[in-house]
């Protein structure tokens, strides 16, 4: 900028007329904030990579854990997260269109695209809520500790439980009564407590009932922790053998042989740290999306009231746009490192 400066007198020069970045203060500070936030996310993802690097084969594989779709059930590996990625990319596009409309002082255009961006943000948050709920509740089979001490995750189609027929009376149920409600929940609860034995369930009121359940199909055990007989990375256990091993453990009458879903202490997918990283990284990102949506709504109100139009430029839209794109950018990395690799 030496050529430029030569035309200015000393007073203006020392007043700092030209900025070396030729950018407004607000935009520059937004960029600096984003760099620091990017470093935070990099730290989290690299910590995840470090832990995964240590755990090797015990770590769950994305396509095994995330293979469900709303209304459709299982067997759609990674499709749901891909959909979430697409939603976020689209809402990033509507944001950049809002910024472009702002550069033409097109107030109507900015309003339209900002509304679309807010809607996209809500869609993403809703998807994430579904994903979390699914992750926390887990699968129908859970993760099972086999008799040799190895731990396996279970894939396949769980045969539906039709009802329980009471064989021994308890405080609430009489002999011969047929229980038809809340079956899956009672079954999993009893399984965790070790209250199941060959085809029978010990209910909470002290009664014992026969489990009338359809057959499971295509069962497959994937070993995640080696035991005396079965090793991580060994041959897949399928069909009859898998069913025999699974139900042997489920009906062993011991506490905590099976784990369903995920919490902060244990999860059915893999090592304890896996769920912790899942909750922290996607949670922290989700929090960013949430605050992004709130900021977008505030800016939309500013657009509607004409504040920025009077100001002569829509730079506020551009600044929130930077933040919103950053959220998309982080998701691109979370998608790769958490779900794909």
């Amino acid at each position: 900028m030496a050529g430029h400066s030569a035309q200015l007198d000393a007073k203006t020069l020392w007043g700092g007329k030209e900025s070396p970045f030729q950018t407004s203060y607000g935009k520059l500070m937004m960029w600096f904030f984003l760099v620091s936030d990017a470093l935070t996310f990099s730290g989290l993802l690299i910590a995840y990579g470090f832990t995964r690097h240590d755990a090797q084969d015990a770590w769950p594989i994305g396509e095994e854990t995330f293979n469900s779709m709303p209304f459709l059930g299982h067997g759609y590996p990674l499709l749901y997260v891909a959909l979430m990625t697409f939603i976020l990319i689209v809402s990033s596009v509507t944001m950049v269109l809002a910024v472009e409309a702002g550069h033409r002082m097109d107030r109507k255009g900015v309003t339209k695209w900002m509304i679309a961006t807010v809607i996209g943000g809500f869609f993403f948050l809703g998807s994430q809520a579904w994903e979390w709920s699914h992750f926390i509740h887990g699968s129908e089979f859970g993760k099972i500790e086999l008799s040799d001490g190895s731990v396996a995750i279970v894939k396949g189609h769980f045969g539906e439980i039709n009802n329980f027929t009471v064989l021994e009376a308890g405080k609430k149920h009489k002999v011969g009564a047929v229980i038809k409600e809340d079956l899956m929940h009672q079954f999993q609860h009893a399984a965790e407590l070790g209250h199941l034995e060959a085809g029978k369930i010990h209910l909470a009121d002290g009664s014992v009932a026969k489990i009338n359940k359809a057959h499971d199909h295509d069962m497959k055990l994937i070993i995640k922790k080696s035991g005396k007989l079965y090793k991580v990375g060994g041959k897949e256990i399928k069909g009859k053998k898998a069913e025999q091993l699974y139900y042997e453990s489920l009906y062993a009458g011991e506490k905590n042989r099976v784990i369903y879903g995920a919490n902060m202490k244990q999860n059915e997918y893999g090592p304890q740290q896996y769920a912790q990283f899942f909750f922290f990284i996607t949670g922290f990102h989700g929090f960013h999306v949430f605050s992004g949506v709130i900021i977008n709504i505030l800016i939309l109100l500013g657009v509607l009231s004409g504040t920025y139009h009077k100001r002569g430029h829509y730079e506020m839209v551009e600044k929130t746009g930077l933040y919103w794109h950053f959220v998309d950018l982080v998701w691109v990395f979370v998608f790769t490192f958490f779900y794909l690799l």
Partner: protein, 122 residues
């Protein structure tokens, strides 16, 4: 005191309809590209198992595709490509120095910790 010698950089972003049209078509092109990359990633992820011999190659492809996506988002959507070279470097260079260092140290230490755990379990 009112300063009349300061430049209002916020006004520099303005452009006319013709330029806007050009920018919009670029945005749509990048959208299609990003969607395609995501579809390719999911397709590879769902069809090639982690136990496959190709997995190391697939991993590298994933990371390269992700960096490509990230590059388009930062340079086009966030307009960093249109900013001055100095600003671009101030944002990117320190970030990459820190992150490359962090990745290096995590992998180095991770290998050491991993081998300790392996010997502990045997």
């Amino acid at each position: 005191m009112e300063r009349d010698d300061l430049i209002e950089y916020s006004l520099h972003g303005h452009h006319d309809e013709a330029k806007g049209k050009e920018i919009r078509s670029k945005i749509y092109k990048v959208t299609i590209l990003l969607t395609l990359i995501t579809i390719i990633e999911v397709f590879i992820g769902a069809s090639i198992k982690q136990s496959s011999d190709w997995w190391t190659t697939v991993k590298i492809i994933f990371i390269l595709l992700t960096l490509l996506k990230a590059g388009y988002i930062v340079m086009v959507f966030m307009h960093l490509g249109d900013e001055r070279k100095y600003l671009r470097n101030v944002i990117l260079v320190p970030y990459f120095i820190f992150v490359l260092y962090l990745i290096f140290i995590a992998l180095w230490e991770g290998t050491a910790v991993g081998s300790v755990w392996e010997t502990m379990w045997q």
